[in-house]
């Protein structure tokens, strides 16, 4: 049998296979000594779990904790305000990926900026920014770069092309964030509401496409130093179910390891060429604020000093505010992300905080835990 493109879609979404795996999980879960909470770190997995109703197929002893989601949802207001301000400068075209359209900053979203006359363009690929820069030589084009390890190399590739073509009018505002650091933070950080190192995360489903680039190796510390098993799983429902089965087996067999379910696309080392490209242009930023989680050490990247002249944050330093904007006082996203609270325990859930007017990160995207509860009425 040879592989067809269709197989890569259909076979990994096959309802019968999903149910069959659910049965195996159910049987395996009977051997568990206690219930386990599995955090799916990535919004892509949350999306699959909700769309295919996977939680409802699992025994009660397995609970999902929805993770920080996606690089868009955790973007703090400060950074969106930067984009908003940059977009309003004369002769600036602000270019960013379509995902950023609706995310609110303190002045509004980028969509609002555009409706007020700013030149904001939402593109599918960073390559489109190159085209816009070439076509508008007398404008300054600023690429507002977002994304996890999955997306960072594409910004690097854009930079490569810009340099090769000697483009002078393309600048970058870098907001790339990294996954292992936030996972560590969720385990390590002091829970502000109970003032202890509390979290209920027993195991992780590792983001698939982050590891296509960065390799499975980035999760090595979790089984070892934190005693949390990790299974890197694909985004299709069959992948997620097989990933859960592998985790449950680890618990029932008293193992604690890093395993890869998504072997068709993830290797231990990842894509070394893409990693080299990232290293060429980027370095660790120090602290970066995540909406809902606060400042996390080493969790983001910035341009290396050699490329300072491309850095919009430096070029426009005098007009970009540095002050932190506090997360909403009543928002308990941090606790929710550690599995310590359910969205319904938040005082403003579905009253002051709704998907149409989110106060915290968990309500920003439809994949956030609060938004999911809002939509599915707490069945998640």
């Amino acid at each position: 049998m040879s592989l067809q493109l269709k197989d890569l879609y259909d076979k990994f979404r096959d309802p019968a296979t999903i149910k069959a795996l659910a049965k195996l999980i159910g049987e395996e879960a009977k051997k568990l000594e206690r219930p386990i909470n599995v955090m799916e770190v990535c919004g892509g997995h949350t999306h699959t779990i909700m769309k295919y109703g996977l939680k409802q197929l699992l025994p009660e002893s397995i609970e999902f904790i929805h993770g920080p989601g996606c690089p868009v949802c955790i973007m703090p207001k400060e950074r969106i305000d930067h984009a908003y301000i940059l977009a309003q400068q004369p002769d600036v075209i602000l270019v960013t990926l379509g995902d950023m359209i609706k995310v609110p900053g303190s002045k509004g979203s980028l969509q609002d900026a555009r409706s007020k006359g700013a030149d904001v363009r939402f593109v599918y690929s960073p390559l489109d920014a190159l085209k816009i820069a070439v076509e508008n030589p007398d404008k300054t084009v600023i690429f507002f770069a977002i994304g996890f390890e999955t997306t960072t190399p594409m910004t690097a590739a854009l930079m490569d092309q810009a340099i090769e073509r000697g483009l002078k009018n393309l600048l970058f505002h870098i907001n790339h964030v990294t996954v292992p650091e936030v996972m560590k933070e969720l385990i390590d950080s002091r829970d502000v509401h109970v003032d202890s190192y509390n979290n209920r995360i027993d195991a992780f489903i590792g983001p698939s496409h982050v590891s296509v680039i960065a390799g499975a190796k980035i999760y090595e510390p979790f089984p070892r130093a934190y005693h949390r098993p990790v299974v890197v799983s694909g985004f299709e429902p069959v992948d997620v179910m097989e990933g859960v089965l592998m985790l449950v087996k680890q618990f029932s067999e008293k193992r604690c390891e890093l395993e890869v379910q998504y072997r068709r696309s993830v290797t231990y080392e990842g894509n070394l060429k893409a990693q080299a490209m990232i290293n060429k242009y980027f370095e660790k930023r120090g602290l970066f604020k995540w909406r809902g989680l606060g400042n996390i050490p080493d969790s983001a990247l910035k341009l290396r000093d050699e490329y300072a002249k491309f850095d919009a944050e430096k070029r426009y330093a005098d007009i970009l505010p540095k002050e932190e904007i506090e997360d909403h006082k009543l928002c308990i996203c941090g606790d929710i992300l550690r599995g310590m609270a359910k969205p319904t325990e938040c005082q403003v859930f579905s009253t002051a905080c709704k998907p149409s007017s989110p106060l915290g990160s968990c309500m920003v995207s439809s994949e956030g835990a609060c938004a999911a509860y809002y939509k599915y009425g707490g069945v998640m």
Partner: protein, 100 residues
């Protein structure tokens, strides 16, 4: 936003560092900067925001499919029926309007 789409490579242009890929009937040009040395026509790749991220390992994909097949075959008829009856609902992709 980290989603990406499996596609088949139809044509490789090494000088341009691009390839034409077929995503279930839709053809488009993507960057192959990260796989330029290895990629060949007929390969399956994952596309993320205009770039191919990797080459999907065919053998591994087939191996997984085989394992799932065996799991299904091992189930008795009654279980299989039960499974078949509970079809899964499809809905939109990222409802937040994200590029997925």
């Amino acid at each position: 936003m980290c989603l990406s789409i499996p596609s088949k490579v139809v044509e490789v242009n090494k000088d341009e560092v691009t390839a034409i890929v077929d995503t279930m009937g839709v053809k488009r040009k993507v960057g192959i900067d990260f796989i330029a040395d290895e990629v060949e026509e007929g390969d399956y790749v994952l596309i993320h925001i205009g770039y191919a991220m990797n080459i999907i390992d065919e053998e591994d994909a087939l191996e997984s499919i085989k394992v799932y097949q065996e799991i299904l075959e091992k189930m008795d008829e009654e279980q299989r029926q039960e499974v078949q009856e509970s079809m899964v609902k499809e809905s939109d992709n990222c409802p937040n309007g994200g590029v997925t």
